[in-house]
Amino acid sequence: MPSKLKNSLSLFDWRQYIVYIAFVLVLIYFSITLAEEGFMTTGNILNIARQTAMISIMGVAMTFVIASKEIDLSVGSIAALSAITTALTMQQGLGMITAIIVGLATGLAVGFVNGYLVTKVAIPSFLVTLAMMMIARGVAMWLSGTAPVPILSENYIFLFGSGSVLGVPILLFWTLLIAIIGYIVMRKSVFGRQTLATGGNETAATFSGINTNRIKMTVFMASGMMAGLAGMLYAGRLQAGRFTFGEGDELSVIAAVILGGTSLFGGVGTVVGTVIGSVMIGTINNALILQGLDVSQQMVVQGAIIILAVAFGSKKRKS
C-alpha cells in the first residue's frame, strides 16, 4: 500500500541516525584520500580503537548522566585521581587486586559526593562537577607530588591497557564490555527507563513513583566509577599514574555523547550512538595526523564537526 509506505517513510527520522551516516561518509572519504598513508590498515584501525577507548568508556556512563538531564564535568579529573591512587596502592606493595579496588572506589566515592551535592544540597550539577573537576585534579597533584608514579606490575599493565589477545588490544575488549553493559541497561532495564523518564519530565517521573534523586545519585556514581576505570587504563597504557591524565577529556566525552544523538535536554539517550560518536572523533583526529595536520588544526576541525553534526541532528524545538 503506497499510503502506508509513505507513512512509514515520514516516520523514519533520518536525523536520529545522523551520526551513523556521518561516520560512514567519513570512513569512505578517508579510506579513499588516505589510502596511501595506510588509513585502512588493520594496524591503524586498532590504533584508533586504542586511542578512543577511554573516551568511549566514560561516554557510556556520561550518556546516562546527560539523559537524566544532568552533566558531569569532573570525569577527566577523576580519571587522573584514580590513576594516581591505583599506582600509589601498588607502590605501597598492597597488590594488584587491592589497587584495582582502590582505583574503582576512588571514582565511585567522587561520584557519590557529586550526586549527594546535586540531589541533597540541590546545587546544579554544572557547578558541582566544575568545582569537583578542580578538586579532584588538585588532590591528584597533591598525592603524587606532581611526579609520575611508576607501575611495575606486568599483570596490571597487561590487563589495563597494554596487553592484547590474539592481536586484539585489551582496550578494545574493555570498550566492548562497558558498551554492551551500558546498552542493555539503557535499552532493556528498569533503571534505563527510569533514567530517561527522569530526564524527560522529572515531575511526571516522581508522580509515577520514581525516586528521581536515587536515579541521579546512581548515574553520578556510575559516571565516577567509569571515569576511574578510564584513569586506570591510562595508567596501564603508560605504565605510570600521572596527574595530567584526562585533561580536557570531559569535553571530548560530552562531544561524543551529543554527537551520538543523546539530548542535552534530557529524556533521550543512546549508548551505541555515543560509542560511534567517540570513534568518529578519534577517526577524524587520526586521519588529520596522517594527513600531516598538527594539533592546533585538529582542534579546529574537531570543533567544526561537532557544530555541524549537532546542527544537522537537532530537530527545531517547537515553540
Binding site: Q194, A197, A204, F207
Partner: protein, 500 residues
C-alpha cells in the same frame, strides 16, 4: 455615565469547525464594573481573548467609544486602552516593581538610556493613586503575592487603560488582600475606568459589580443589573439546562457493609489545607467540589505524598500510614491523575507504551530487565479498551490529542492495578466526546471495586458520576452530600459559594 464604551456585536468564533461563540452580544457602560460569568467552556475567555486581540473574530464587530476596531494582535488592543490581568502573573521576580510596571515601555532619555528617575516617580504616582503602600524600588520577589496582583494592575494603568479586564483576580488572594483589591476597584471606577470582572465567586460579584452578563455554551443568556437579580436566579442562568444528555447521572448500587479504604483525618498541609477529613469506601466514586483556591488540589497532593503533611493522619485499609513520597503512596495502592497532564502526567517526548508502563516497571520486569513483549501486550489491550486513538503504541504522546493523552494517564494506573485512584480535574481541556468516555471509564473502574476520588470544577461531570460529593471551602470540608439528595447543579453551586 450611561455612555456605552464597549459594544461587541454578534461575535462568532469557531475553532476547527467547532463553534465556541455564537452571535454573542456584550455591552459595557463607561465607568461600570461589569461581571462576566458562565461555567467552564461557556466562552468567557474566548470572548475576552477576542477583545484583547489574542484571537481574531470570525464574524461580528467591536466598537470602542463609538469607533469600530479591528485587532490583529494584543498591542492593537492596548493602543486603544484595553488591558487584561491574567490569572497567571506575567511579572519578572528579579526586577523591581517600577521596572515591571514599565517593562517594554521604559521612559527614555538621551541616547536611548532608561530614565530611571522618571520611571520610579511615575510608578510612585500610580501606586499612590491606587491607595496602596508598596515602594516602586522593591523587588517583586520580595513582596507578597497579593501585591503582585496590585503591580499587575499598576502595569495596566501605566498604559492609559480605559477598559481593564480581570480574570479570577481573587483566586490567589487572602481575605484582607481581597478587601484591598475591592477598594482599588472602587477607586478606579471613580476615576472613570471601566472594569470587566470574570469570576465564579457570587458573593464577590454582588459586592463589587454593577451589572452582570452570563454566557452559556457560547451564547448570551442574560444581562442584568446586580440589584435586580438574586443569587438563585443567577445560578439558574449559569447552569441552565446543562444537565446535558451526554452526561446523565446513572445511579450506582451501594454495597452494604462496604469497607472504608482511605480515611483522611484532620489533614493539614501548606497554607491551603487547614483541616480536611473524609472517608472513601471501596467501589465508591467520591466527588470533591469547591472554588478555585479552596485547597482541593493541595489536599490530593498531600495525600499522594507530593506536598509535606504538617498535621493530621492518613489511614489506608484501616491502618495509619506515613506517606512521604509518591513512591510510598503508590506502594500503598494509591494512584494520582494530576491536574496538568502535560507537565505532571506524561513524558511528552516518550512513546505511548513507555509512558503507560512507567509506574508498573517493577511488575513488568524480571531481574530488572523489562519484559517487552508482555508490556506491549498489556499496553495494546489497554489502548483498545480505553479507545485511545493512536496508530501505534510506539508513537510519541506529544502527537496525540488532549483527550487521548488523558486516557493514557488513566491507563498508567489501570495497568498498575491501583486500588485507590485520585483524579484531579480529569476532563480539563478535553472535548465533549472524550469527556463522556472518560466518565464512563471512571464508572467502570469503580464498578470493579476500586475506590475513586474525583476533584473537578465541572459540576456536570461531578454530578454525572459521583455517589457522594464533598464540599471544600477555604481549606476545610464543609459538608458531604449524598448524590441522591441533590436535585440539581444549583444546590452544589450554592453550597460551594455560601459562607460557613
Amino acid at each position: 455615565m450611561n455612555h456605552t464604551i464597549l459594544r461587541m456585536k454578534e461575535i462568532e468564533k469557531a475553532f476547527n469547525g467547532i463553534t465556541v461563540l455564537d452571535k454573542v452580544n456584550f455591552e459595557v457602560k463607561t465607568g461600570e464594573v461589569h461581571a462576566l460569568m458562565g461555567g467552564n467552556g461557556a466562552g468567557k475567555s474566548t470572548l475576552m481573548k477576542i477583545l484583547t486581540g489574542v484571537y481574531q473574530l470570525d464574524e461580528g464587530s467591536i466598537e470602542i467609544d463609538g469607533e469600530y476596531q479591528q485587532f490583529s494582535n494584543p498591542s492593537d488592543a492596548e493602543k486603544v486602552g484595553v488591558s487584561m490581568i491574567f490569572q497567571e502573573f506575567s511579572l519578572i521576580p528579579k526586577l523591581t516593581v517600577a521596572q515591571n510596571i514599565y517593562l517594554h515601555y521604559e521612559p527614555r532619555k538621551a541616547f536611548g538610556m532608561i530614565n530611571d528617575k522618571k520611571m520610579v516617580s511615575d510608578s510612585r504616582k500610580i501606586i499612590a493613586d491606587m491607595g496602596i503602600s508598596i515602594s516602586p524600588n522593591d523587588l517583586v520577589e520580595n513582596i507578597s503575592l497579593g501585591y503582585w496582583q496590585m503591580t499587575e494592575i499598576a502595569k495596566a494603568l501605566s498604559k492609559n487603560t480605559k477598559i481593564l479586564i480581570m480574570d479570577e483576580p481573587t483566586s490567589t488572594l487572602t481575605k484582607s488582600e481581597t478587601k484591598t483589591l475591592f477598594s482599588i476597584i472602587r477607586r478606579l471606577k471613580e476615576s472613570g475606568i471601566t472594569i470587566i470582572y470574570i469570576s465564579h465567586r457570587m458573593d464577590e460579584i454582588f459586592e463589587v459589580c454593577d451589572r452582570i452578563t452570563v454566557l452559556r455554551n457560547g451564547t448570551n443568556v442574560i444581562t442584568a443589573s446586580c440589584a435586580d437579580i438574586t443569587m438563585e436566579a443567577l445560578i439558574n442562568n449559569i447552569v441552565g439546562g446543562s444537565m446535558g444528555q451526554s452526561l446523565k447521572w446513572i445511579e450506582r448500587p451501594i454495597k452494604e457493609n462496604r469497607k472504608p479504604i482511605l480515611e483522611v483525618k484532620h489533614l493539614q498541609s501548606g497554607s491551603r489545607v487547614k483541616d480536611v477529613s473524609f472517608t472513601l469506601y471501596e467501589g465508591e466514586i467520591l466527588g470533591m467540589a469547591g472554588l478555585m483556591g479552596s485547597g482541593r488540589s493541595e489536599t490530593v497532593r498531600a495525600v499522594f505524598g507530593v506536598d509535606a503533611i504538617s498535621g493530621g493522619e492518613v489511614h489506608v485499609r484501616g491502618s495509619k500510614k506515613l506517606i512521604f513520597s509518591p513512591k510510598e503512596a503508590i506502594q500503598e495502592g494509591l494512584g494520582l491523575v494530576p491536574e496538568d497532564r502535560r507537565s505532571q502526567g506524561l513524558v511528552l517526548e516518550h512513546s505511548v507504551k513507555e509512558n503507560t508502563i512507567l509506574p508498573s516497571l517493577g511488575a513488568l520486569s524480571r531481574r530488572q530487565i523489562i519484559q517487552n513483549s508482555q508490556a506491549d501486550e498489556k499496553v495494546e489491550a489497554l489502548v483498545k479498551k480505553l479507545k485511545v486513538k493512536t496508530d501505534d503504541i510506539h508513537k510519541t504522546v506529544s502527537l496525540l490529542s488532549g483527550g487521548n493523552q488523558q486516557k493514557l494517564v488513566l491507563a498508567k494506573w489501570l495497568l498498575n492495578d491501583t486500588d485507590i485512584l485520585i483524579l484531579d480535574e480529569p476532563t480539563s481541556g478535553v472535548d465533549i466526546g472524550a469527556k463522556a468516555e472518560i466518565v464512563e471509564i471512571i464508572r467502570e473502574i469503580a464498578d470493579s471495586g476500586k475506590a475513586v476520588l474525583v476533584v473537578s470544577s465541572e459540576m456536570t461531570e461531578l454530578l454525572a458520576m459521583s455517589d457522594r460529593i464533598l464540599i471544600m471551602k477555604d481549606g476545610e470540608i464543609t459538608s458531604s452530600i449524598d448524590r441522591k439528595e441533590i436535585k440539581g447543579e444549583e444546590e452544589v453551586e450554592r453550597a460551594i459559594q455560601v459562607e460557613k
